[in-house]
């Protein structure tokens, strides 16, 4: 038994198998937790700016996404690491990206011109 149960002094996974899964899945997880989490954070921050109302001060859509940035990253990072299926983690990230993309696109599309009779 290790002397340090909190921070073990030897690899915690069984020999020959990474905690993050085998070969390809480990790589997918690293990609999801690294650049993937960063991109998800950017997407969610942009989407929050698009969907949040400006509030009485006119700054809610700026301040709330900025404050939420580190928390969004933490959620994306831990989800990418802890989800038992890297495939599901990737699908969730992709779905979130699509949702954010749609929200931003809808916000940037100019409103249709008013029909004048």
């Amino acid at each position: 038994m290790s002397t340090f149960p909190i921070i073990p002094s030897r690899p915690v996974a069984a020999p020959g198998r990474s905690l993050f899964g085998r070969g390809g899945s480990a790589l997918a997880r690293v990609a999801l937790a690294g650049p993937g989490a960063a991109l998800t954070t950017l997407g969610v921050v942009a989407a929050l700016a698009a969907v949040l109302p400006p509030g009485p001060g006119g700054v809610d859509a700026i301040a709330v996404p900025l404050v939420a940035l580190p928390l969004v990253w933490a959620a994306a990072f831990f989800h990418a690491c802890l989800d038992r299926s890297p495939r599901r983690a990737a699908w969730v990230a992709l779905a979130l990206w699509t949702l954010c993309g749609v929200a931003v696109a809808l916000d940037r599309v100019p409103p249709p011109a008013t029909v004048v009779r």
């Binding site: 909190i6 905690l19 009485p56 001060g57 700026i62 301040a63 580190p70």
Partner: protein
């Protein structure tokens, strides 16, 4: 106790440890410099020997502003900022329109209004070059962006913030006995067990603080390089100036016709009365024009967590509005935004909260280095790569305080010829290089002791150097109501004693053993 499935618990343990291996030394660097930067104002008072306890903006500033504006070319009268500078002084910064080629003039005046320093040139080149406040500015600069050029420095310190968030959240989740660890320290246990107790104890107490620091630190670091450009692209078609206008309020309608400048002393006095605290920073936009505005940012009033911002007409001096930190009216976003600064800088309750923030910063530094050492304690003897990281941990953990003390030595040595901006950086680099050389040249068992002694001696040298450079003694400082000077000296000497205590005791024990053994036999 947090019950996690075995796989998740192991994974979080691995994340906690490997993130420390990858980013622990960077995190420690940002934490240690931040712990010192919290006391930047006090370091400024201590290093400059400032004896006037009154805030500079409560003294008459109107004549100084008028003279600075009259002496400046019209193009540089777009905006004028007034703030405290080193040695009880006032800094008047004049700038032209914002942009990459923005030019400006910085004038520092003494308590009597005499001009001490004047710099003119590109705003980026002249900002932060006050020779008297060089030490405090240098220490803050390291923490904010590690002197990495451009916005990349902010990204690096932001990554350190995210690393702290990762370590704090994973540490919280893998804690087996959160409440018990708050009070467990087996000092008589074996060294590894005692080290683990220290890591858990300091980590548990500092956990809420670490979470707050991580979120606020990442907020500040990522706002400029990532947050503002993204939000400007989404909401303002990429126009960041429009975003700042939304945050800080729209300027009045442009009217360049000449007009008188409001009495700034009357404005500052009124702002002080309304805010219940002294003005900390005054911005005068378009002085001498009909559309002039004066914005007074006050110190935080005792009992409040956020400071007041008051806007005045720049021609008549009439009070216009009390503004929230950002936005046109109080709102959730504005409140959250306004909370970031006091929670990160810890200045919401004056010196008491700053001391608490400093203590918690020390705790976080100890947890970071202690955790890395726990991770390395067995691995370092097994593989050369781990041994190198173990050596690097010692060099950074003890070399960074040595380098910061070296910057203080450089500052006082450069005071005589007014080259403190350069000598402070040189002092830091020379001391850091010495730590690096020691890390390469010395045997591992001797490394920690030598660095500890060097840091202790450098810290102990600072108070005599300050006095030799013409700084006031304790009696003079206390009589003038400036305890920061005596407090700074005492803190440095206390730290020096703490660092020199263990090596000194070992040296005495070695001498005692040698005396008992007697002279060597032929």
């Amino acid at each position: 106790m947090i019950a996690l499935p075995q796989r998740e618990a192991r994974l979080l343990v691995a994340l906690h440890g490997w993130s420390a291996v990858a980013l622990g030394l960077l995190l420690y660097t940002v934490l240690a410099t931040g712990t010192v930067a919290v006391m930047a104002d006090e370091i400024g008072h201590w290093s400059t020997g400032a004896l006037d306890a009154r805030a500079p903006l409560t003294r008459p500033v109107d004549a100084i502003l008028r003279r600075a504006v009259a002496d400046a070319p019209p193009a540089l009268r777009e905006v004028v900022d007034l703030a405290a500078s080193g040695r009880d002084g006032l800094r008047v910064s004049l700038r032209d329109a914002p942009g990459p080629e923005q030019r400006g003039i910085d004038v520092e005046t003494g308590p009597d209004g005499r001009v001490l320093h004047r710099r003119e040139g590109l705003a980026a080149d002249i900002a932060g070059r006050d020779p008297d406040g060089a030490l405090a500015a240098f220490l803050v600069g390291i923490h904010v962006r590690l002197y990495i050029p451009g916005l990349f420095g902010y990204v690096v310190t932001g990554v350190a913030g995210l690393a702290l968030l990762l370590a704090a959240l994973s540490g919280l989740a893998i804690h087996r006995h959160l409440l018990r660890d708050l009070f467990t320290l087996r000092v008589l246990a074996s060294p590894p067990l005692a080290a683990r107790d220290r890591h858990n104890l300091a980590g548990t107490w500092a956990l809420p603080f670490a979470l707050v620091l991580a979120v606020t630190g990442a907020f500040f670091s990522f706002a400029a390089p990532v947050g503002f450009p993204t939000l400007a692209w989404v909401s303002f078609g990429g126009d960041q100036q429009a975003l700042f206008t939304a945050l800080l309020g729209p300027p009045p309608a442009a009217d360049p016709s000449p007009a008188a400048i409001a009495d700034l002393d009357a404005v500052a006095a009124d702002a002080g009365a309304r805010a219940g605290a002294a003005p900390a920073f005054i911005r005068v936009a378009h002085p001498g024009r009909a559309d002039a505005r004066v914005t007074v940012y006050a110190e935080t009033r005792p009992g409040d967590i956020a400071a007041a911002t008051l806007v005045y007409d720049g021609v008549t001096g009439a009070f216009l509005e009390r503004r929230p930190a950002v936005g046109r009216a109080p709102s959730l976003g504005g409140t959250l935004y306004g909370l970031m600064a006091p929670l990160h800088f810890g200045h919401f309750a004056g010196l008491a909260s700053k001391l608490a923030w400093t203590a918690m910063g020390f705790c976080c530094c100890s947890v970071t280095v202690g955790g890395l050492r726990l991770w390395l304690v067995r691995r370092a003897t097994a593989r050369p790569g781990w041994a190198a990281l173990d050596r690097a941990t010692s060099v950074v953990a003890l070399g960074l305080p040595l380098a910061m003390a070296g910057s203080g030595v450089g500052y006082f040595l450069g005071l005589a010829d007014g080259a403190t901006v350069e000598s402070t950086a040189v002092g830091f680099l020379v001391a850091g290089a010495l730590a690096l050389v020691a890390g390469v040249a010395l045997r591992r068992p001797a490394l920690d002791g030598v660095l500890r002694v060097a840091t202790g001696l450098a810290l102990a040298a600072l108070p005599p150097l300050r006095l030799a450079a013409g700084g006031p003694d304790w009696a003079t400082a206390l009589a003038a109501g400036c305890p920061a000077i005596a407090f700074g000296d005492a803190a440095l000497l206390g730290l020096a004693i703490a660092l020199l205590h263990r090596p000194g005791r070992a040296l005495l024990r070695a001498g005692h053993d040698a005396a008992l053994a007697g002279p060597p036999r032929p």
